[in-house]
């Protein structure tokens, strides 16, 4: 043991160094955010509770046409769509249901939708006592849109995070495909 090491051991220098660090930390700003009163700002593109876009200029109903692309791409199979024939032989969406407790919030349904009908709001503070409260029906999803999104916010949201808005729903030109791209 060298003299330096001896001094280190006898006078507990390492321990005092550690204690100096904790003392210094004590006078630094705490990183705590006092949650219910203070909230972290929600980052753009946050994937929270689901909503169905309401289409006010035309019907005020959901923009969804019932194509079933979102249900098809959903990895956890939590979107259930039931369509029916209307009297004018138009396809109508009878039921549109999302089991939120099974959803993994990947956002693939938003990207898949060709009509910007489904979106994920910035709302994340939902809780309940039963599973039924998290089984979203079409009415609940439309209400979510009114509560947490609105027309203005949803426009910004779709312009950033909804890729089909480019108007080009086909295979990207750069992508290698075997069949070849169908030109319009």
């Amino acid at each position: 043991m060298t003299f330096k090491e001896l001094v280190k051991t006898v006078f507990l220098l390492e321990i005092f160094k550690g204690m100096a660090l904790t003392l210094r930390t004590m006078f630094r700003r705490p990183v705590t955010i006092q949650y219910p009163t203070q909230k972290k700002p929600v980052m753009p593109g946050f994937r929270g509770l689901h909503a169905l876009t309401r289409d006010p200029p035309q019907t005020g109903d959901a923009r969804c046409v019932g194509c079933g692309l979102c249900a098809a791409i959903c990895p956890s199979r939590c979107i259930h769509i039931y369509t029916a024939d209307s009297e004018e032989h138009k396809k109508i969406v009878e039921r549109y249901e999302i089991d939120v407790l099974r959803c993994l919030f990947c956002g693939l349904c938003v990207e898949a939708c060709p009509y910007a009908a489904i979106l994920l709001t910035e709302h994340y503070e939902y809780s309940g006592y039963t599973r039924e409260e998290f089984y979203m029906t079409k009415e609940k999803l439309l209400k979510n849109y009114d509560l947490y999104m609105g027309a203005e916010k949803s426009m910004a949201y779709f312009s950033k995070f909804w890729h089909p808005l480019r108007g080009d729903f086909g295979t990207p030109k750069k992508q290698v495909v075997f069949k070849g791209r169908k030109e319009e």
Binding site: I15, G18, M19, L21, T22, T25, M26, P30, V31, T32
Partner: protein, 338 residues
């Protein structure tokens, strides 16, 4: 005894009643103030450790969480009192009481100022040792009677730890006794007045170091909190306790810390003497010094990881006790020469 009998059979002399009345009032006041200090010691600890970890600590109950100790107290008081079916019931009930008893009776002889003490006896330092060692019985009884492996291990660890560190602690104070020439805590404080800074801190710096280390071990605090090592023993000797019985152990632990800090203040830091007199509050310096040592407790807890058990025993027997003996010899030689 004869005086009591005389008073009972010859009414007219009320001296005994007045005497007992004042003692009871004193005891109640000191227990009340002590309990309040325990309550806010927990709050202070959570705040200090919180800020040392860049957190805030309690913030919800009252402004900056100031009423948190009362909320905790009410919660503990109304919680269900669970008694394990296989527990040894009388011992199980007795353990927390004995634990608290040790800590509280030590408080009886501590002088907070020259004239403020429940009793000023000539062997007060020995009495404090005896009383604080009594707490070990509570811990062993709790560990045994709970009939659970975790509490049993915690109790065993605590027993061996307290016994080994009690020796080092006693030896560390021998230097103080030699310099003061008395076991009376008031005399010890008075003897310090002619030393630099009015304290035995510099002549007895080794003793102070040993005392602080063994006080932390004696009160089962981090980094020597092996009896209640959360990561291995869940909570140690009081795993099976809940509600108000758990609260009694908690009170005993914090009261023990306050008693140890008071002894350190009296024996090494000059008690109630300060650089200048604070009018009307004779115990102001005493309280300030006690708070500083309590802060040291929390500071050490926030900084250091827990010791390994064989290291703990090694430090106690192979480092602190020989060091304390060397300290005694040096003090003796210096005292003889001067």
């Amino acid at each position: 005894m004869t005086r009591i009998l005389e008073t009972l059979f010859f009414p007219g002399s009320f001296d005994v009643f007045i005497f007992f009345g004042t003692v009871i009032v004193k005891v109640l006041v000191i227990i009340g103030v002590g309990m309040l200090h325990v309550a806010y010691a927990t709050y202070f600890e959570r705040k200090v450790i919180g800020h040392m970890q860049m957190r805030l600590g309690p913030m919800r109950v009252g402004p900056h969480g100031l009423l948190q100790p009362f909320a905790d107290g009410i919660k503990l008081f109304f919680k269900e009192d669970i008694i394990p079916a296989e527990a040894d019931k009388p011992v199980f009930f007795g353990a927390p009481v004995i634990s608290l008893l040790g800590a509280l009776s030590a408080l009886a002889v501590i002088p907070f100022s020259e004239n403020i003490a429940v009793s000023n006896i000539n062997i007060s330092l020995l009495f404090v040792f005896a009383a604080s060692a009594l707490g070990a019985y509570g811990i062993i009884m709790a560990g045994w009677s709970s009939n659970s492996k975790y509490s049993f291990l915690g109790g065993l660890r605590s027993a061996s730890q307290i016994i080994s560190y009690e020796v080092a602690m006693g030896l560390s104070l021998v230097g103080v006794m030699m310099l003061a020439g008395s076991l009376n805590l008031v005399e010890i404080v008075k003897a310090q007045e002619r030393y630099p800074l009015g304290a035995f801190l510099f002549p007895q710096i080794i003793g102070f170091f040993i005392f602080i280390v063994s006080a932390i071990a004696e009160t089962n605090r981090a980094p020597f909190d092996l009896p209640e090592a959360e990561s291995e023993l869940v909570a140690g000797y009081f795993v099976e306790y809940s509600g108000i019985r758990f609260a009694l152990f908690f009170l005993a632990e914090y009261m023990g810390m306050i008693v140890m800090s008071s002894i350190a203040t009296i024996c090494f830091l000059g008690g109630w003497n300060g650089p200048f007199r604070i009018p009307y509050i004779p115990f102001a310096w005493f309280a300030l010094k006690v708070y500083c040592i309590l802060f040291l407790y929390y500071w050490v807890r926030a900084s250091l990881p827990r010791y390994r058990y064989d290291h703990l025993m090694g430090v106690g027997w192979k480092v602190l006790i020989p060091l304390a003996l060397v300290n005694i010899v040096i003090t003796g030689i210096v005292k003889m020469l001067l």
